[in-house]
């Protein structure tokens, strides 16, 4: 009797695990096919590699904004901390490749955690997080522009440490960054399914209730800041070595933060695959609009306004919800957005 029941629980557990991780495997398999079409063209490979890097940034940002509701307006700066730290250590101080990346990642993580800690200890935290992280973005930019001796200022910095590795070949880097995206997605799922994920969900849904039921809101927000920032730093560092050249514009606010925000909101804040869908969609749109490159930033602005006015849960979840409603397919199950700004808590 007991044998049968254990068997059925282990079977259902296996099924549950399959359900949890198969979307990641499927996404990875689909994305792995993309270079088949573009491997001849160095330009197109660069485009899709950058698309993957942005998918990684957006997953990281989703852990911070999507899981714990902290509006970090410094994704570019944190990736830049990883990128510049690793680049400066390898090219100016002769550090080997891997330790420099580890240090860049840790530094980004520490800064992100500190910013989180400063901002979330008070009420009004959406504002304070925004202000502190924006101020950090500007500090980072002035530091990069000001310390010309280390960063090369506006002329940028050549990064040669990975010159003979697969990171600088034509096709392989795509798979390196795809691997990174898969690792990030698995990490996202692991967190979601752990006790940390429970805490994240509870503080996201109702901060006061979470605090009252014993969830240390500050601690879990700082965790999200530490983890997400480490992911940003790591992706930024690898990207720096892949590009072999970084400049202030590589990680600039207008180049990274705005895009990452658009990607996340488009794909769906707080959903696992949303960032990947958003990154793929925006990479396609960008490529289609390549002749209007100067209009791009303005378009991003318009997209931000339209998305937040019309589709606060993300375009993909909204369309899915609409289709579900139209076909009366069971109960509505939209992936919960981070405190969807539209829904006032019922109290």
């Amino acid at each position: 009797m007991s044998g049968i029941s254990t068997q059925s629980t282990s079977a259902s557990r296996a099924l549950e695990l399959f359900g949890a991780y198969s979307p990641i495997a499927l996404t990875a398999a689909l994305l792995a096919l993309v270079p088949l079409r573009y491997s001849d063209s160095r330009t197109m490979m660069t485009v899709i590699i950058i698309g993957m890097v942005f998918a990684a940034y957006t997953i990281a940002f989703n852990i911070i904004l999507g899981s714990t509701g902290q509006l970090f307006l410094c994704t570019g700066a944190l990736a830049g901390i990883g990128g510049f730290t690793s680049a400066i250590l390898t090219s100016k101080h002769g550090w080997p490749f891997i330790p420099s990346i580890v240090l860049g990642t840790l530094l980004a993580s520490a800064i992100g955690g500190l910013l989180s800690w400063v901002a979330v200890r008070r009420s009004l935290d959406a504002i304070f997080t925004g202000v502190v992280t924006l101020a950090f973005s500007l500090s980072y930019e002035n530091l990069v522009l000001g310390r010309k001796d280390l960063t090369g200022g506006e002329n940028g910095l050549r990064v040669k440490a990975a010159a003979d590795t697969i990171l600088t070949t034509r096709v392989a880097p795509y798979y390196v960054f795809l691997g990174l995206v898969v690792v990030y997605l698995v990490l996202y799922r692991l967190i979601e399914r752990s006790h940390v994920g429970w805490a994240f969900r509870s503080l996201r849904d109702d901060e006061v209730a979470a605090e009252l039921s014993g969830v240390n809101v500050t601690r879990y927000r700082v965790y999200a800041g530490l983890i997400g920032s480490a992911m940003l730093g790591l992706a930024g560092a690898l990207f720096a070595h892949n590009r072999e050249f970084i400049a202030p514009t590589t990680f600039a606010f207008g180049a990274v933060d705005v895009r990452v925000l658009v990607m996340l909101v488009f794909g769906g804040i707080g959903s696992m695959l949303g960032p990947v869908i958003g990154a793929v969609a925006l990479t396609i749109v960008d490529e289609a609009l390549v002749d209007f490159a100067q209009l791009r930033i303005m378009l991003y602005g318009i997209v931000i306004v339209v998305l937040f006015l019309g589709f606060r849960r993300g375009v993909v979840p909204s369309v899915a919800a609409l289709r579900e409603r139209l076909t009366h397919l069971g109960r509505r199950s939209t992936p919960a957005a981070v405190k969807p700004p539209g829904s006032t808590p019922r109290s």
């Binding site: 200890r121 500007l138 303005m298």
Partner: protein, 285 residues
Amino acid sequence: MKAVFLDGIVLGLQMGLLGVGLTLIYGLGGVLNLSHGQFAVLGAIVMARVLQHGASLWMAVPLGLLAAAAVAVLSDLTIMQPVYRLRGEARVLLGLLLMLGVGTIIDGYLEWKYPIEALNIRISGDPISIIGVPMRVGSLVASAIALAAGAALFVFLRYTTFGRATRSIIEDEEGARLCGINPALVRTLIFGLSGALAGLVAVSRAMTSPVISTAGVELTILALIVAVVGGLGSVSGAFVAGVLLGIVNTVSAFYIGTYITTIVLLAAAALTIVFRPAGILGRRA
């Protein structure tokens, strides 16, 4: 040292003026205007274009202020409307993100149309000696503008009916409504006023250094820091914080390097948030 200090006050008055516009809107509508700096730059570029067509400064400045105020009022009347229907944190978050979008649109437009445009206002005249330090006339006029605007704002908020209505909404929106004040109308007008103040910052800044078309984000961030250190919603706090931070800024730039100043300002904002979240003049600490 005296010269550095005076330069700090000149910069600080600009920063105060910048922070005031932001803090007013936050106090009234709970909206953190992330495109405040872009409003200023927009005004500056309009002025620069008008000046290029041979118009005088007396013509260009009102047009620039009007343009900045118009964009602010337009944002309030259109995309901010759904924001006002929300309460609490949802309102703050949506307002902030929408204004970030507006700022990005203005930034993108300016970068596309006028990438190298800048507003530069030269005030001629021999340097005037203040406590033994020769000060440029431009700096003095800029400071006078900031002081005059601050004083006018003070009188307006304290002694006019409309100003009292504004303050009552900052204190308690529901209560003001019960007294027959229409918060929506006041909000729209204050948005316009805040836009015009942003344009005025562009004018006074342009007297000491050029205002370039890409300066929007930086100005917004400076305004945010000033507003947070002064206490969000506090007009006098914003001026005091502006002057303090201006002095801190110039002193650290003089002794360490320009690149360090934003880090110092960031630290100031962080320390304020941790130790005095209601601002330096705040009552509830």
